[in-house]
């Protein structure tokens, strides 16, 4: 079978995964920064406060960079109780609609985020803080995450259509259907926290 779409998809998945991880690292870094700040404030009476501002950017960027990753793991929740009662053909249609609506959301968000970023670029806007961050930096990175999310939504739509063309309704459901609860929690459950020897009551 043609493996070109597969190769594209592997790349999309890898990029999405590492973007999410990069976003997570930002959050980890601001945690460390804020902790240092608090220690400096309390122990050495050194007041400096950039952590809070940076953490807000880390949230916006980290979140937008993880939207695509969450999509690929079907983590964007749907209320699927009614859907599950429908015949497969209708389920497939609903799954396709779900993907389509998410793509629309992503495109709309990207469009208006571009607007915002473009304005702060044109005005050379800076955050009104000691750091005086040029807003185009956080806005631009935020926009990049949203744009990637929109791209991945479109790619997923294409993959779903391809699956439908090849394997019909069931293939589409398998690709675009909601994740089973067990699957969704897969990682929490693969936590592998092996018991410490002898710590259990005998």
């Amino acid at each position: 079978m043609s493996s070109a779409p597969d190769r594209v998809h592997d790349a999309v998945a890898a990029i999405s995964l590492w973007m999410a991880r990069a976003g997570g690292c930002l959050l980890l870094l601001v945690s460390v920064l804020i902790s240092i700040e608090i220690l400096a404030r309390k122990l050495f009476l050194l007041p400096f406060g950039i952590g809070t501002e940076l953490s807000a950017y880390a949230l916006a960027i980290g979140a937008s960079w993880s939207f695509a990753y969450a999509l690929l793991h079907r983590a964007h929740v749907r209320i699927d109780v009614l859907r599950n009662l429908r015949p497969p053909a209708l389920q497939a249609l609903l799954d396709f609609l779900a993907l389509l609506s998410l793509a629309a959301l992503a495109l709309v968000l990207t469009w208006y985020a571009y607007d915002t970023a473009e304005t702060s670029w044109a005005l050379g806007a800076r955050e009104n803080t000691t750091l005086g961050t040029p807003l185009i930096i956080p806005h631009g990175l935020w926009l990049a995450g949203l744009a990637w999310f929109a791209l991945v939504c479109l790619e997923q739509l294409a993959v779903a259509l391809l699956a439908f063309a090849r394997g019909g309704v069931l293939a589409l459901i398998q690709h675009a259907g909601p994740a089973a609860m067990e699957e969704e929690l897969g990682d929490v459950l693969a936590l592998a926290d092996p018991p410490l020897a002898g710590a259990r009551p005998r």
């Binding site: 601001v30 608090i38 949230l59 209320i79 607007d115 909601p178």
Partner: protein, 429 residues
């Protein structure tokens, strides 16, 4: 306006569109139908302001904290200590399940993390001590829900953000109900074991010496609790800063237990970002929807609509509770909160109820939502860590605890002072 909005929301959610997409579609349709000004032009600014909200930073940080604690190796000694102290009660280690969940809840803002962490160490002993397996599993799923009632709590942070209620006050308000609910869970276990003695399991012997010795296992969770919660009330840190301190402390504990590896950190980050992506996309859409709702005056319209019904405050509260109990069967708690709280809270506050008190009520309803099938996340977590048998064992086992939660809901209606006593004691309320 109110019927159209509600109808569209039900239609979009009923079509099983992703919650975030449904909210955005609703916002754009309502803006198109009812707004006098082109509200969508403000979308970029509004979504950015929600996405970069400094209070909301604590949400992914608490998810990350939970993911790290889950893998940090602190749960075993905590569980051991709780079993030394509590397993003499009828129902044995089931009380340790509740006790360990209560302690863990004081370090974790997430119920999934609580149920998964304690479930992992507890489930292997079910067969060994011949417990009634269903009730044992139920006690884990229910005990885990305490994660969001006993502070810190992701749900209380989201509630505080949505309703502009003080998070430190909400945290204080959660303490007493959290402890009382834990005790009610334990009483439920005793009661079940008195009715069905075959569920009790084999008694576990302990001595005072080993009890005292086991207390060391409580030190790591106590340290995190002291740092995360203590730093807020000592005036060291904002709720967000305290979450950051918690993450760093948890990393330190994991390192001490030799669990801190690159692979472990990546696993924790992956889990965190999946949940963060899901929540923040809903937050972004919901915040824009809230903007549209206030622009078209829907909250006021809804308020006068409900006032027009001539319901007494008590019957309105009753209707809202039933609404959440039903909705909670089909919806995960956080999306449920983000969608409903901005509209419901003004109505309930208008009727004379306290917003801090109502925050605790919402959390109790979220806890119930976590263990009511078919969509009850904790049921699946416990089934997952058990790794065998059928989910229906957990569902059947949790029924007595659903009754306990309903009892608790009635209890805070009858005695609202239970919720507000501690915030008042600290002079914050």
């Amino acid at each position: 306006m109110t019927p159209t909005s509600l109808g569209l929301l039900l239609l979009f959610l009923g079509l099983s569109l992703p919650v975030a997409a449904a909210l955005m579609l609703l916002a754009l349709s309502l803006g198109q139908l009812f707004a006098k000004l082109p509200v969508h032009l403000a979308m970029g600014e509004i979504v950015w302001s929600a996405s970069s909200n400094t209070l909301l930073v604590s949400v992914p940080l608490f998810i990350l904290l939970g993911e790290i604690l889950l893998r940090s190796g602190i749960a075993d000694r905590l569980y051991n200590s709780m079993s030394q102290w509590l397993a003499w009660l009828p129902g044995g280690l089931m009380h340790a399940n509740i006790g360990a969940c209560m302690v863990f809840a004081a370090t974790s803002g997430s119920s999934v993390a609580t149920a998964a962490t304690i479930g992992t160490v507890a489930t292997p002993v079910i067969k060994k001590y011949q417990y009634g397996e269903r009730l044992f599993l139920g006690s884990l799923a229910a005990g885990g829900t305490l994660g969001i009632l006993i502070p810190p709590s992701i749900n209380l942070i989201i509630y505080g953000w949505l309703t502009e209620t003080s998070v430190p006050q909400l945290y204080l308000a959660g303490f007493v109900p959290g402890i009382v609910l834990g005790l009610i869970f334990m009483a439920t276990i005793v009661l079940c074991c008195l009715v069905r003695p075959e569920w009790r399991g084999v008694a576990i012997e302990s001595s005072w010496a080993s009890r005292v010795e086991s207390l060391g296992g409580l030190l790591p969770p106590f340290a995190i609790f002291l740092i995360v919660i203590g730093s807020i009330y000592a005036g060291f840190a904002t709720p967000t800063e305290s979450a950051a301190l918690g993450v760093v402390t948890a990393l330190g504990l994991a390192a001490i237990n030799r669990r801190l590896t690159f692979a472990m950190l990546l696993q924790a980050l992956d889990g965190t970002m999946r949940t963060t992506g899901m929540i923040m996309l809903i937050v972004a859409a919901a915040w824009f929807l809230n903007f549209v709702l206030s622009a078209i005056g829907l909250v006021n319209a809804l308020n006068s609509f409900i006032t027009g019904l001539g319901l007494s405050p008590a019957s309105m509260l009753g209707a809202i509770i039933v609404f959440y109990l039903v909705l909670g069967c089909f919806m995960e708690p956080l999306p449920m909160m983000i969608v409903t709280v901005p509209v419901v809270t003004p109505v309930i506050v208008q009727a004379g109820y306290d917003p801090v008190w109502f925050g605790i009520m919402i959390v109790l309803l979220c806890e119930t939502a976590m263990i009511t099938p078919p969509v009850g996340v904790n049921l699946y977590v416990v089934q997952g860590v058990r790794g065998r048998g059928s989910i229906s064992d957990v569902i059947l086992g949790v029924i007595p605890f659903i009754a306990s939660l309903v009892l608790m809901i009635l209890l805070i209606i009858a005695a609202p002072g239970m919720v507000l006593w501690l915030p008042r004691l600290f002079g914050m309320h």
